[in-house]
């Protein structure tokens, strides 16, 4: 029998669980300002996340999906992207959104039941959060196709969870990205759990990255809690995309340290021991240790950063809580560019109803 194809999957990790280098670090480690900016974004994201959960618990925000454990990969994506690239998120990408210029109060508005939370003036081409799992992958290849049609030197980064890689949308999209040689980077954020379904039940494949082989694009595994491994993979994949060399799939292995959302209770399906073990691999602590060990970070700087993040988040919460609701007629005003005649009577009725005193308080 003739061997037609064989493959291997690379897996990259540079720091051990305590932040000590396992060997030579990539060139990204020498860019101290960028590393410090990454660390700051991770801490801000985690501070925001804790506050958003607290708001939900106290009835001030709707169901919210915690980003706990994704701060490293989300930050690496945000740093590697050019402003002119397009980000196509799923729904646990807070760390990236912050770097793209989405305001914290906008994220609270979105989860707080207000469509204006997706307006995003700082990154007007980024796609809004995609709740239907993996559907964003098809949109990402559409955006990348538009760039190809116009022969633009831009690229797309698309995130998807490990559960999402089971859907046709993901597989069809990486397949098209290979067939059409599209400037897109897929980041499969493998946090081990799709609500209660463990990674092992999603696929018999040993890695998610190897699904790239079937699509004709490169696939790599990185330790998604290792900032250097993750940002290096993103930098490389985006350089490929910008250079007209096509798509890449990166599997970033991390762990969902929180519940799926505030409506979930992960103690129903996973052990305290597993969670404790995952916390030992936390990527923020790892990078903090590395920065400290290499003389880039002091305890007083940490204290100041924590304080600064708290103030930033508190200001965003105030802005969110003081934002008036839209008039109810907005539910019809953005359906079409121009309201069709067929809907005018309904809008009039709604306008009349909205002048009545609210009895929901």
């Amino acid at each position: 029998m003739r061997k037609r194809h064989e493959f291997h999957v690379d897996s990259t990790r540079y720091l051990d669980d305590n932040g000590s280098p396992l060997g030579e670090l990539p060139s990204q480690a020498a860019e101290t300002e960028r590393v410090l900016a990454a660390y700051r974004n991770m801490v801000l994201t985690r501070t925001f996340d804790a506050k958003a959960i607290a708001l939900q618990r106290t009835g001030k925000c709707g169901t919210y999906p915690s980003v706990l454990g994704h701060e490293v990969v989300g930050t690496a994506i945000g740093q590697a992207m050019m402003a002119t690239d397009v980000f196509v998120p799923y729904y646990r990408d807070q760390a990236t959104h912050i770097l793209r210029g989405v305001r914290l109060e906008d994220m609270l508005l979105y989860w707080g039941g207000d469509e204006r939370g997706s307006v995003w003036p700082a990154c007007p081409e980024d796609l809004p959060i995609a709740v239907p799992i993996a559907t964003q992958c098809c949109h990402a290849v559409g955006v990348a196709s538009a760039m190809r049609v116009r022969a633009e030197n831009r690229a797309v980064v698309c995130c998807v969870g490990d559960g999402g890689t089971s859907k046709g949308d993901f597989l069809e999209s990486i397949n098209l990205a290979g067939a059409w040689h599209l400037p897109v980077v897929f980041v499969a954020i493998n946090n081990q759990w799709a609500i209660s379904t463990p990674r092992g039940l999603q696929s018999g494949a040993e890695t998610i990255a190897q699904k790239a082989i079937g699509a004709g694009i490169p696939g790599h595994v990185v330790d998604g809690n290792d900032y250097f491994a993750t940002v290096e993979a993103l930098d490389t994949a985006l350089e490929r995309a910008h250079g007209g060399k096509g798509a890449t799939l990166i599997e970033a292995v991390t762990y969902r340290l929180g519940d799926h959302t505030t409506a979930d209770d992960a103690t129903r399906y996973r052990s305290a021991e597993e969670l404790k073990h995952a916390w030992e691999k936390d990527g923020i602590k790892r990078l903090q240790n590395w920065l400290h060990d290499h003389g880039h970070w002091r305890p007083d700087q940490e204290k100041a950063l924590q304080e600064e993040c708290r103030e930033t988040v508190d200001a965003a919460v105030q802005a969110y809580l003081s934002t008036e609701s839209e008039p109810p007629t907005a539910m019809l005003d953005y359906l079409f560019e121009t309201l069709p005649d067929a809907l005018k009577e309904q809008r009039e009725r709604l306008a009349q109803r909205s002048t009545e005193v609210r009895h929901d308080g």
Partner: protein, 330 residues
């Protein structure tokens, strides 16, 4: 005076003509689908586009309808105007999630920051002895979705003008082409880039006694029925709804205010069909004008039969005539 842009064409040729016109006049228009580039589409609706506009704008996709629907959404958010072809309406359902949950909602959920100026084209309806899954009429599924336009031409002229309007419209349009009319009739169509209005019914025939409301393939049978009824002295007003969503109720109400009687004709199943919405609107807003109950002539509430029994499913001219005789006698 001879208009040298005037061409005698079939409905499918009119579609092709409109695509050529709009691609030549708007660089942001692209077309994508299965077998649409080199092969020119299984019905030849896209013949010649790849040769004229190149493979960058005329894209053969992998065989994945969900992907086609979603890729068009992504393209549209970038300001392209994708016209995506589904080979048959029966295969569009894999893409429903993108149509229902994304294309129709993008403008609303980003408060106008992004929108989807795209067209999903699909041949639909029975009458050509096609295999299973090739003959259904499920326009009501799409008409139920807020944020979508559902447009159905019934002649070469309206196919040309409505497709231009659909492509130019800044919101998503599901454009359903009655495939048994693809080559059934020819008509002179001016290739002048003139679009027809959307959200507007077309009154094809004026009459005083009864309003016949229809769209798509059944426009043919309805016009034939009106002709027969005219010989019996019954004046039928025939209205081609054309845009089944959003619905131009005013034209229908004005007509029924005049005639006092209405028969709705569609090929789709009756239950929950667009005809039901029209009948309900007439009952709500024209009850006092009505001299007889509104009657529907439609397909049966069943799975579209394979083609041996297809003729028993499709509304016939005599069904329409007899429905009119029923409402006239009251």
């Amino acid at each position: 005076m001879t208009d040298n842009t005037l061409r005698k064409v079939t409905l499918v040729e009119a579609i092709n003509m409109a695509l050529h016109w709009e691609m030549a006049h708007d660089d942001s228009v692209v077309v994508l689908g299965e077998d649409i580039a080199t092969n020119g589409g299984v019905f030849r609706a896209t013949v010649g586009l790849k040769e004229t506009f190149g493979f960058r704008r005329v894209m053969d996709t992998p065989l994945a309808e969900n992907l086609i629907a979603g890729t068009a959404v992504g393209m549209a958010t970038q300001g392209l105007k994708p016209v995506a072809e589904f080979q048959f309406l029966g295969f569009i359902y894999a893409g429903m999630e993108h149509i229902v949950s994304h294309a129709s909602r993008m403008r609303n959920r980003t408060r106008g920051r992004l929108h989807c100026p795209l067209v999903y084209r699909a041949p639909f309806g029975g009458g050509i002895h096609a295999p299973e899954h090739h003959s259904e009429s499920t326009e009501a599924l799409f008409a139920h979705v807020p944020g979508l336009r559902v447009v159905i031409p019934s002649s070469p002229q309206r196919a040309y003008g409505l497709l231009l309007a659909a492509i130019r419209n800044p919101d998503p349009v599901v454009f359903l082409e009655p495939k048994r009319l693809y080559r059934a009739v020819t008509q002179s169509v001016a290739d002048d880039g003139q679009a027809l209005p959307l959200d507007t019914c077309f009154t094809l025939l004026e009459g005083e006694d009864v309003t016949l409301i229809t769209w798509g393939p059944c426009v043919q049978e309805t016009l034939q029925a009106a002709e027969q009824l005219a010989e019996q002295g019954v004046g039928c007003e025939v209205i081609d709804v054309a845009t089944v969503a959003p619905l131009d109720r005013e034209t229908l109400l004005c007509s029924v205010a005049k005639t006092g009687r209405a028969v709705i004709v569609h090929e789709a199943c009756r239950n929950g069909g667009v005809g039901a919405e029209i009948a309900a609107s007439l009952a709500e807003r024209a009850f006092l004008d009505l001299q007889a109950p509104v009657v529907r002539v439609s397909g049966y509430d069943t799975v579209m039969p394979y083609y041996r029994n297809e003729a028993f499913y499709l509304p016939r001219v005599e069904d329409i005539v007899s429905a009119v005789e029923q409402v006239i006698s009251l």
